[in-house]
C-alpha cells in the first residue's frame, strides 16, 4: 500500500515534468501517438535564437530574483530582530501577514497607483520593489522564529566576552542563522522568480520576465515553445531545491542540537 502510494505521488510529481521535456523536444506529436515520433533540440535552439532575446529575459529574471532575495533576507533578518524585542510584536507580526491575505492583483493595483505617481511603473526597479513587499513580509515572518531567548542569551554572551555589535552579527548571529537564512533566500527568490501578476501590472508591458514570456508563447498557441520556456522556469528552483534539502537538514540538526543542549 505504502509502495503504491509512493509510486502515485512520484508519478504525480514527475509526469508533468516528463511531459514538458517531451513537448520541448518533440518536432511532431499528433494524436493518437502515445509518444512523439521525432525528438530533437530544434525548439531549444529556436528559443535562444529568437529575436526576442530569451537569454536576456532569463538573466533579467535571475537578477531580479537574486536582488529581491538578498534585499528581503538582509532587511528581514534585521527587522525580525527588532520585531522580537518590540512591545507590540504580536500586532506587528499579524500586520506582516496582510500582503498574503489579499490577492497579489489587488495589492498590485494599489501599488500601481502609487508607483505611477513615483514614476516607478514600467521600470525594473518598480517591479522589484513591488515583489519586495511580499518577499520582505515573508522573510520577517520566517526569520522571527530565530530570535528566541537562547539566541538572545548567545548574543549577550558574545557581547560580554568582548564582541562589538558588528562582531556579534558576523561571528555569532549569522553563522547560527545560516541554515534559516539559506531557506529564506531560496523562498524569497522563488517569490520573485514565479511572479506574474506584479510584473504584468507594475511592469506595464515594459519589463519582460520568464513568466511573462511563457504566457506569451502559451497565448500565441505555441505549446512546444511554452513547454521549453516552462522547463527553463523550473530549472533554478529544482537546482535550488537540491541545495535547499541540505539546508533544511542542517536546520533540523541545528534545532535538535539546541534541544539537546537544553
Amino acid at each position: 500500500m505504502r509502495r503504491a502510494l509512493a509510486w502515485i505521488l512520484s508519478g504525480m510529481l514527475v509526469l508533468p515534468l516528463v511531459l514538458l521535456v517531451l513537448l520541448s523536444l518533440a518536432r511532431h506529436w499528433t494524436w493518437p501517438a502515445l509518444l512523439p515520433a521525432d525528438l530533437q533540440l530544434r525548439q531549444w535552439r529556436d528559443l535562444f535564437a529568437d529575436a526576442n532575446g530569451l537569454g536576456t529575459v532569463v538573466l533579467r529574471s535571475l537578477g531580479m530574483g537574486i536582488g529581491v532575495a538578498v534585499a528581503a533576507t538582509a532587511l528581514g533578518f534585521a527587522s525580525s530582530r527588532s520585531l522580537a524585542r518590540h512591545a507590540r510584536q504580536g500586532r506587528l507580526l499579524a500586520l506582516l501577514h496582510l500582503p498574503f491575505a489579499v490577492s497579489p492583483v489587488v495589492l498590485g493595483v494599489s501599488l500601481l497607483y502609487a508607483f505611477l505617481r513615483l514614476h516607478l511603473a514600467g521600470h525594473l526597479l518598480g517591479v522589484m520593489l513591488a515583489q519586495l513587499v511580499f518577499a520582505y513580509a515573508y522573510a520577517v515572518i520566517l526569520l522571527s522564529g530565530f530570535w528566541n531567548p537562547r539566541a538572545r542569551s548567545l548574543e549577550e554572551l558574545a557581547s560580554s566576552l568582548g564582541a562589538g555589535r558588528r562582531q556579534v552579527w558576523l561571528h555569532v548571529l549569522m553563522p547560527l542563522a545560516r541554515p534559516l537564512l539559506g531557506v529564506c533566500l531560496f523562498q524569497t527568490f522563488l517569490i520573485s522568480w514565479f511572479d506574474y501578476a506584479l510584473v504584468l501590472l507594475i511592469g506595464s508591458g515594459q519589463v519582460a520576465t520568464l513568466t511573462i514570456t511563457l504566457y506569451q508563447y502559451f497565448s500565441s498557441g505555441d505549446i512546444r515553445l511554452a513547454a521549453t520556456c516552462a522547463l527553463l522556469l523550473l530549472a533554478p528552483p529544482l537546482l535550488a531545491l537540491g541545495l535547499n534539502q541540505q539546508l533544511l537538514s542542517a536546520t533540523i540538526v541545528t534545532h535538535l542540537e539546541a534541544h539537546d543542549d537544553d
Partner: protein, 262 residues
C-alpha cells in the same frame, strides 16, 4: 596571575534598576576586593540576576554607579567593560567546537594565532578537557560544558567575573568538583568574582566575602564570622541541623525505631 590593574576592586554605589515600572534593585551598594569572590545569597526572585545583568551592562540601571578600580564602567558598552557574565546555563556557541568556543574571546581581541593556540591548550589542560578540542556542545556532558564555559570566560582574563548560579543545573558530585575547580583557577589567575546563589553551602565554599540579598536590597557583611552569626543567613540553623544529625538525634536523622518500622 593577573595584575591588580587588570583585576581591580569592584565598587557598586546606589545602583537602582526598574523593570516595567517595578523597582527591582533599591540603591544597592557594596565592594568586592581585588582577587576575591563575593558570594551573594538570596532566594529566587530577590533580584540576584538583575544585579549581575546591570553590572555587566546587559540592562540599563535607573541610577547608580559601577566602578572597577578608578574607572566608571556603567557608562561603557558591555563589550568594553572587561566584565564576563556567566549564565546559569552553560551556553556554548553551537556552531563552534570546544577549541573555538574557548578561543572566542581571544580571537575577538585579535591575538596572534600562536598565542591563541597556547593559551587555549593550557586552559584545556587545566579544565581536564584536553583531547576533546574538536567536539561540539552536543557531544559534551553538562559538567564538561560548564567547564568549557568557565574556561572561555577565564582565558580572556576578565577584570571581573559574574557568576549567576553557575552550578545549579549540575548533580551534587559534579557541582562540588566544579566549585573546587573554580576556587583553584580563581586563586591561580587572581580572579575577582561576584557569585550569586541560593545555595548556602555553595556560598560558604566559594565566597571570600558575603552579602545577603532580599527584596532588591543587598546587605554586605564585614566578614565570614558576621555572616555566620546573622540568623537571617541561615548558617547557624544549618549547622545546628547537621550537628543534631551527626550526634544521633533520632528526630533529625530519622533513624529511630518508629521510622525504621514504617
Amino acid at each position: 596571575m593577573t595584575t591588580d590593574a587588570s583585576s581591580p576592586t569592584l565598587r557598586v554605589d546606589r545602583l537602582g534598576v526598574q523593570l516595567g515600572g517595578q523597582v527591582i534593585l533599591h540603591d544597592v551598594s557594596f565592594v568586592v576586593d581585588v582577587h576575591t569572590t563575593m558570594a551573594v545569597i538570596g532566594a529566587s526572585g530577590c533580584g540576584k540576576t538583575t544585579l549581575l545583568r546591570a553590572i555587566a551592562g546587559l540592562l540599563t540601571p535607573a541610577h547608580g554607579e559601577v566602578k572597577l578600580g578608578a574607572r566608571r564602567v556603567d557608562l561603557l558598552a558591555p563589550n568594553r567593560r572587561g566584565i564576563v557574565y556567566l549564565n546559569q546555563e552553560p551556553l556554548l556557541f553551537p556552531h563552534l567546537d570546544l577549541f573555538e568556543n574557548i578561543a572566542f574571546g581571544l580571537r575577538l581581541r585579535r591575538l596572534p594565532e600562536r598565542q591563541v593556540r597556547e593559551r587555549v591548550a593550557e586552559m584545556l589542560v587545566q579544565l581536564e578537557l584536553d583531547g576533546m578540542e574538536r567536539r561540539h556542545a552536543h557531544a559534551l556532558s553538562g559538567g564538561q560544558r560548564q567547564r568549557a564555559a568557565f574556561g572561555r570566560a577565564l582565558v580572556v582574563e576578565p577584570a571581573l567575573l559574574l557568576l549567576d548560579e553557575p552550578f545549579s543545573n549540575l548533580d551534587p558530585d559534579t557541582r562540588t568538583s566544579m566549585q573546587d575547580l573554580f576556587k583553584q583557577l580563581a586563586r591561580r589567575r587572581g580572579i575577582t568574582a561576584l557569585l550569586v546563589t541560593h545555595d548556602l553551602k555553595e556560598s560558604m565554599r566559594m565566597g571570600d566575602s558575603f552579602a545577603m540579598m532580599r527584596g532588591g536590597r543587598v546587605h554586605a557583611y564585614a566578614d565570614r564570622k558576621a555572616f555566620c552569626a546573622d540568623p537571617a543567613s541561615g548558617v547557624e540553623r544549618e549547622a545546628a541541623f547537621w550537628q543534631a544529625f551527626t550526634s544521633g538525634d533520632a528526630q533529625v536523622s530519622g533513624c529511630d525505631a518508629r521510622t525504621a518500622d514504617s
